[in-house]
């Protein structure tokens, strides 16, 4: 997610660079119209960049940080699971020992050892069961809570997009009004480009491709 926002920022920055370089070109000094157009473009781009930054900040606050926090719970969870595993191992081991003693003949020392083993087993078993139960309780709850946890993040994502795009629309709408370009369709624009290209080519100083 973070990389997505980084890419977004980079895109916006490069758009600003376009207009900035254009402005620095001395061509602007000559041609007043050109200068006006490029200045307007530049202001628009800078504003867009500011909005983009805001949007990214918002996303950072409401999505990325909660994501991180959510993720940081997992190590503890993993450790708890490991401990349960360990307890399970101990339990099994002692259980096996108890069973081994039980199978032997019931002589005195064997009985004493059996009793001792059982004593050892009891706390271990209880411990394991305690851990197990805890995990069984907590994990589903944790996992289920993510639904509610993330909902506000997503809402905020969508809303951030809305805000950003509405600003963008407004800014560029104003800009197009200002630059006085009638609404052409794509084919029209392509034809215009072709026309310009052929005009250029008509000049003999231009080499033919």
């Amino acid at each position: 997610m973070k990389k997505s926002t980084d890419a977004d920022l980079a895109m916006s920055k490069s758009a600003v660079k376009i207009s900035l370089d254009l402005l620095s070109n001395p061509l602007c000094e000559q041609d007043q119209d050109f200068l006006d157009m490029v200045t307007a473009l530049d202001t628009a781009m800078k504003r867009m960049d500011a909005f983009n930054q805001e949007k990214v900040n918002q996303i950072q606050k409401t999505v990325i940080e909660p994501l991180k926090k959510f993720g940081s719970v997992f190590p503890s969870l993993n450790m708890a699971v490991k401990r349960r595993e360990q307890a399970l191992q101990d339990y099994r081991r002692l259980q096996a020992k108890v069973e081994k003693y039980e199978e032997k003949e019931k002589t005195g020392p064997v009985l004493a050892k059996l009793h001792q083993a059982r004593e050892e087993l009891r706390p271990v078993r209880e411990d394991f069961e305690a851990k197990n139960k805890q995990l069984l309780d907590e994990m589903p709850r944790f996992y289920g809570s993510r639904l509610d946890y993330f909902q506000p993040s997503f809402e905020s994502l969508i809303r951030a997009q809305v805000v950003y795009y509405s600003e963008m629309h407004k800014i560029f709408g104003d800009l197009t009004q200002q630059l006085d370009q009638p609404g052409h369709s794509d084919e029209q624009r392509e034809r215009e480009n072709e026309a310009k290209l052929s005009e250029l080519r008509a000049l003999s100083i231009v080499a033919d491709d």
Partner: protein
């Protein structure tokens, strides 16, 4: 057609001398003849052209159509213009003789412009057509068939065939001035037609020279605009004495200029043009690279597809975001990218390519300028130049005039086009924003909180996020609760007493349990069975060895290996951690959980013990116990300090019981303490 014999020019004033009269008559005769020749030749010319265009071209089917265009170029236009011209000529025939001459002059002046336009193109193309013809001649089969066709239509073409036909328009246009000249010569000076004819003649001569110049420019441009991609080897191969000498003379000229020995020809106009050209090309290249960077970033942005990652969160805003992001990526942004490419990037690329030609020409011009200057010098010194030098002069002049003529237009066009591209870019952005906004807004309408305006939403969001993070913390703590390792081994019978004794003297933190049988070997070592409780006095021995600890067993003191000791933990009661969740939520904002704050593990002063054997109280100070009954030890000794009796509390009753009857066991309820402090 005027009857040249019959009409006499009306003479004014005195009648001229008979010889003059005769010569006038003769000249008039010649004039008539010349005019007639003009018209007749025009007729046959047109006829020939039409033949070429229709019959021959139609029959030369085996040549590819592109070649036909090159061969005949704009012969149709020529035919058209000539047709109209002929018509005009023929109309003049109806008028009187003097009238006719004047009218012819006027006609030429009228058609001057058109002639120039039409013949210019044809002549410039002529060289290429010739090249093609030569190529055909190399192929005997082709040549024979072409020849056959031509001879069928135009018998007088002869063996040269196609080239003969193609050169006809060239010949015609150059003939015009000559014909006109002839008419002019034979027109008396005082005739009204004379000045007109004079103008016409000079006009046609201008036409010819401008056609020539145009042709030269085209040649020069063609020669130098192509950016040649030569490999190093090819470049080396090209170096011969000629090029070397050329380059060295240029270099010397340049040095002379730098040193100030030779004045440099300053051409302000050209320099201005060149400067502007440089700006324009800089603009284009910069814009191109910036747009490229922008597109790269757009690509990178599109690479990350959040809608593919978000799995397993059904319903609600997550899904909506998923679909929104997908839409945006796959449709809106993709479309934007494609349009950007087609309408902004590709034109920029073409522009950049187009810049290469003029750039080359400018460079070459500089070279040629050096040549030119040198030649000029020589001209001044010597007075005449060789043919090559003359040619160099012409080349320079042609280049210069070409550039001066065309660069302004070029600059202007490029600037305009740049403006157009930028506008397109802006419009594209706007439309992208529109599209994205439309989708996003429709998405927002589905969200549960859409009616809340933005700042309020922000506050709500912050509040919720705080709650959520608090909840997460509680989860984290839950998971971090460490249940104590269940390695409390059962105590040896009788060691409770010992334990009590140790406890009185040492802090419980110092108590350790022996994990396996220790057999002491050295002098102060202890031999301890497994499960024995000892208190550690020092965790190293007198020699500083950290693995031998000094312990107290309650009776004896000695050293034991540290590896066989394990901390012995008492059973400690703990508050049960409260879980935060209540049952039903109305909306999905969870109520804040109870704060669960584990305290730092402190050593409790009460211990949970269980009575192992039943005990009957024999006095009021004593307390009855039942086996398995949990009790609370208040004091581990009686009033006299006797550790054999413990003051316990059971169900609110207090009393003394024998310490031996008590045992410590882990509490059956889950408990523990947190690892984090």
């Amino acid at each position: 057609m005027a009857d040249f014999g019959a009409d006499e020019p009306s003479c004014t004033s005195e009648s001229p001398e008979p010889e003059e009269r005769a010569s006038e008559d003769r000249s008039l005769l010649h004039q008539r003849l010349a005019i007639r020749e003009l018209i007749d030749t025009e007729v046959s010319y047109l006829h020939m052209l039409r033949l070429c265009a229709s019959d021959i071209r139609g029959r030369l089917q085996q040549l590819p159509p592109g070649d036909l265009d090159v061969l005949f170029s704009n012969i149709d236009d020529i035919i058209q213009v000539s047709g109209r011209f002929l018509q005009g000529l023929q109309e003049t025939a109806c008028h009187g003789e003097e009238e006719q001459a004047r009218l012819i002059g006027n006609l030429f002046l009228e058609f001057q412009e058109e002639f120039e336009q039409v013949y210019k193109i044809y002549c410039a193309n002529y060289d290429q057509a010739l090249l093609l013809v030569k190529a055909y001649q190399k192929d005997p089969e082709l040549q024979k068939s072409i020849q056959g066709i031509i001879e069928a239509a135009v018998p007088q073409a002869g063996p040269s065939g196609l080239s003969f036909l193609l050169v006809i328009p060239l010949q015609r246009i150059t003939k015009f001035p000559l014909l006109l000249q002839k008419i002019l010569e034979n027109t008396p000076m005082d005739a009204s037609a004379h000045p007109v004819l004079q103008r016409a003649t000079s006009a046609l001569q201008d036409v010819n020279s401008s056609i020539n110049e145009y042709k030269m420019r085209k040649e020069v441009a063609l020669k130098y605009t192509k950016v040649e991609q030569l490999s190093l080897r090819e470049r080396l191969a090209r170096i011969n004495t000629h090029t070397l000498s050329k380059k060295t003379t240029r270099l010397s000229q340049l040095l002379k200029q730098e040193a100030g020995l030779v004045p440099r020809t300053e051409d302000k106009e050209f320099d201005d043009l060149e400067e502007r050209f440089q700006w324009v090309s800089l603009c284009v290249t910069e814009l191109k690279s910036n747009v490229a960077a922008y597109m790269d970033n757009l690509e990178a942005f599109l690479c990350f597809r959040p809608h593919e990652w978000i799995v397993d969160i059904p319903g609600g805003p997550a899904e909506q975001y998923c679909s929104l992001a997908k839409d945006l990526h796959l449709e809106a942004l993709l479309q934007f990218k494609q349009r950007l490419k087609g309408l902004v990037w590709e034109p920029l690329c073409s522009l950049a390519r187009a810049l290469a030609g003029p750039r080359n020409l400018i460079k070459k011009r500089l070279d040629k300028l050096l040549d030119f200057e040198r030649v000029e010098e020589k001209l001044l010194d010597v007075g005449s130049v060789t043919y090559e030098e003359q040619a160099a002069r012409h080349t320079y002049q042609a280049l210069n005039s070409l550039l001066v003529a065309e660069l302004p237009r070029f600059n202007q066009l490029v600037t305009q086009w740049l403006g157009q591209i930028l506008r397109t870019f802006v419009v594209l952005q706007k439309e992208l924003a529109e599209e994205a906004l439309r989708r996003a807004e429709s998405s927002v309408a589905l969200l549960p909180h859409h009616h809340i305006p933005e700042p309020d939403f922000q506050k709500l969001l912050e509040h919720t996020l705080d709650q959520n993070s608090g909840q997460l913390r509680s989860f984290q703590e839950n998971f971090e609760k460490v249940l104590p390792p269940p390695t409390t081994q059962p105590l040896l019978p009788g060691s409770e007493y010992q334990l009590q004794a140790l406890l009185t003297r040492y802090a419980p933190g110092k108590l350790y349990q022996v994990t396996s049988n220790i057999s002491g070997t050295a002098t102060l070592d202890l031999t301890l069975p497994r499960g024995q409780i000892v208190a550690v006095l020092q965790n190293k021995d007198t020699k500083g060895n950290n693995s031998r600890w000094l312990v107290d067993t309650g009776g004896h003191r000695g050293y034991v290996p540290a590896g066989k000791l394990q901390p012995y933990h008492h059973t400690l009661p703990r508050e049960r951690e409260l879980r935060g969740q209540t049952g039903v939520h109305e909306d999905y904002w969870l109520p804040p959980p109870e704060p669960t704050q584990p305290s730092v593990p402190t050593v409790p002063t009460t211990a949970q013990v269980v009575a192992v054997y039943p005990f009957v109280a024999r006095s009021t100070h004593e307390l009855s116990l039942q086996a398995g009954q949990p009790v609370t030890i208040l004091e581990a000794q009686d009033k006299k300090g006797n550790p054999e009796w413990s003051l316990v509390e059971v169900n609110g009753h207090r009393g003394y019981v024998p310490s031996n009857f008590l045992a410590r066991t882990p509490s059956p309820t889950p408990w523990g303490w947190s690892l984090s402090s």
